[in-house]
Every structure is written in structure tokens, then in C-alpha cells.
Amino acid sequence: MTSPATTPEAVPAITQLDGISLQPLEPAHAPIVASLLSMRGHRFILDIPSDEATLTQLLAELGRQTWTLPLAAVVGGECLGVVTTALGNVKSLHASITALFVDPTTATTALAMGIRHLFWTFPLHRVHAQIPDMDLTREYVDLLTSVGFVDEGRLQDHLVLAGRSFDVVTLGLLRTDFEAWCSDNEPRLSFSV
């Protein structure tokens, strides 16, 4: 006689935490993205046209890509920033991730919520990011490593801006890395039931 099969328990989506709310980023939010792109070193992280008509179209197209879910992190009606996957790879179970925040130095929880929701939504094994190695964007290397991303090396001289070459920092986060990060830092986001 066999024992009855155990039905696994589903972990819930978490889109509200500590006053931060995750919401889908729609084409109508193009002005918010345009504003974000004009801040800090964001144009070096995401080099796309920043006019609203083009952004509206890009957001519409982005939302239709494989394993892509553009998200906005909002507090009290104010947008803290956006997080999205792109370039989903269904064979190797990975996607690139882009995050832009009004203040990345305080965005760890919001980013972790976004990543958690992306891992909750898609069967991703890994997300990865490439950040230019320059003063203006270093805060994003710090932000990504603050939620468990691992510095996986450099792409040497891959980027040229104003005649100067820059390395690009490559960062990766495995699902298991993120689970370990949650366990150590934010158990409320853990997938462990």
C-alpha cells in the first residue's frame, strides 16, 4: 500500500510589502520611464530613445516578449523605480534584468520584491545584468549585489562613450542565490513554505 501523494503548497505572490506596491508597467507609463531615464547614470545602463512615443511602443513590445514582465515599484502613488526582464532564453532558462530607481541606494527591498515576483512568475533559473563600470553607475552594481547578485567578471573595453573605453560588470543571480539571500535577509520573500 502506497502512502497518499503529498500536494505541494503554493507560495503566494507578494506584491505588497512595507508600503511598497508592485504594479505592471504599461505603455501608458512611458512618461515615468522617460523621467527615470533622464536621472543619474541611467542612460548608460539603458540606451534607448527617451521620447514618450517611442517609449510607449517599446513598452508595448517589451510586454509581449518571452518571460518579460515590466514592473513598477510604487509607494504612496510615487514611482520608486522599474524592474523588468528581457531577452528571455527558454532553452537555458535565463533572462537579462534591468532595474532603474529614483534612488538606488534605498531600493534593495523594492528590487528584491521585483526579482521575487519574476522568479515566482517564470521558470527562470537565472537572471543577469551588465552594468558599465563607471562612477555614475557603480551604485547599480552595489544595488544588485545587495540582493544577492554575484559579480561574475568584466567585459573589457566593451563600451565606448565620448571616445573613452569602459569595462562592463557582469552580474548573475541564480534562483538558489536569491533563495539563500531571502533566507538570510528577507524571509518574507522566501519561496520556502
Binding site: N89, K91, G153, H158, V160
Partner: protein, 211 residues
């Protein structure tokens, strides 16, 4: 920028851009490639036929395609060219692969590339040894980045610029790599044709950006 593969009659290899007539031969080669665990699996070519940026490699006296080199812009990084290569190791002999690689790299730099970028599966030890021999050090290791041969593998990124490429050629006077000159034509007076190959790459770069 789209690169055009060179046309070269070298000492041990002929190189030319792929054309629509190569479709069946390239399909056979791609199938072989896909079965080689180190080569990153199946990567379909564009439906419209082979791109002129794909170089086909042939033995000097044969008509059979024994290798292919693909040079593509690396997404998001103008001037950085992702180069991948596969040769049939049973047919590409005597340094054919390295000489073919050298002609293609020479041509890509001549067309304005700043950086050559390779992504190699961690399991591809022969190519990692080759890169060490060329003093091209890995600069990044993407963990669990490619599903190949039944599991996920790390992918190792390498890159070099034209100055480093020149230093490789200067440092390895007996290598089949030296069978090029600065115009991308077959080399001369370096005695390379008489020398045994120092390496024979049967698969350089393994991960297709479109995976």
C-alpha cells in the same frame, strides 16, 4: 555593422563568404556541430539563407565545406564582434582551422571591429587551453548560463583588441595563425606551411546569442 567574410586562398585553407548554394553543406555542418557537446547545441541559421558574414572554410584542394566562422555584432556593444567557429575535426587538418580563424579575425579588424569577443562553454577544455596559449585570459564566467548536453554549464567570456591580436601573431611565428599578413592575405616567408600545427581548433566559441 554587418561584416562580410573574407575571400582568401590561404596556404592550408580557402575562406569565402557563405552563399545560398552552401545551404545544404552548412546544414550538415551545423548538425554535426549541434551534436558536439562543447558547441552549444542547435542554432538555426536565418531562414533567408546563409549570411555573407558567415565564412565557410574549405581545404585548398577540396570543395567540401569543413568549417564555418560567424562574426556578429555583440548586442548593445558597437564595435564588439562575437566570433564563433566550428570545424569538422576529421576533415580540417594541418592547421586549417587556425589559419581560417586568423583570416577571419584579420578581416573583422580590417572592417572596423574594436574587440573580438568569444563565449566558450566551461566544458570546452581544448579551446580554453588554446586561449591560454594565446594569452587571452577569461574576463567573466557566467554561471549556469547555457543548457547543453543535458544540463546547465558555465560560460566563459574572452575578448581581445587588435593590439593583442598583433602581439599573438608576433609571439607565435610558427603557428598557422601567422599565415596572414596585415591585409588579410596569406602570409609569406614565415615558413609556416612547413611547420606542424601547434593547435587545431575544432570549436571556438560555443554559445549562440539567440539560444
Amino acid at each position: 555593422m554587418p561584416f562580410v567574410a573574407p575571400t582568401v586562398d590561404g596556404q592550408r585553407v580557402r575562406v569565402r563568404p557563405a552563399d545560398p548554394g552552401d545551404l545544404d553543406d552548412l546544414a550538415d555542418l551545423d548538425w554535426q556541430r549541434s551534436l558536439h557537446p562543447a558547441m552549444g547545441g542547435w542554432a538555426p541559421r536565418p531562414a533567408g539563407g546563409p549570411s555573407p558574414s558567415t565564412a565557410v572554410l574549405l581545404a585548398p584542394s577540396g570543395e567540401e565545406i569543413v568549417g564555418a566562422v560567424d562574426a556578429r555584432d555583440l548586442l548593445g556593444y558597437p564595435g564588439v564582434v562575437n566570433v564563433s567557429m566550428y570545424t569538422d575535426a576529421t576533415a580540417a587538418l594541418g592547421g586549417l582551422a587556425l589559419e581560417g580563424y586568423a583570416h577571419c579575425i584579420q578581416s573583422v579588424f580590417a572592417q572596423g571591429a574594436r574587440i573580438i569577443h568569444h563565449e566558450v562553454l566551461a566544458l570546452n577544455r581544448p579551446i580554453r587551453r588554446l586561449m591560454r596559449g594565446l594569452r587571452v585570459e577569461p574576463t567573466a564566467r557566467y554561471r549556469d548560463h547555457a543548457f547543453v548536453a543535458g544540463r546547465l554549464w558555465d560560460v566563459i567570456a574572452y575578448s581581445y583588441d587588435e593590439t593583442h591580436w598583433r602581439s599573438i601573431l608576433d609571439r607565435l611565428p610558427r603557428s598557422p595563425l601567422r599565415r596572414v599578413d596585415s591585409d588579410g592575405r596569406p602570409g609569406s616567408a614565415n615558413g609556416a606551411a612547413q611547420m606542424p600545427p601547434t593547435h587545431d581548433a575544432d570549436g571556438l566559441d560555443t554559445v549562440h546569442r539567440s539560444d
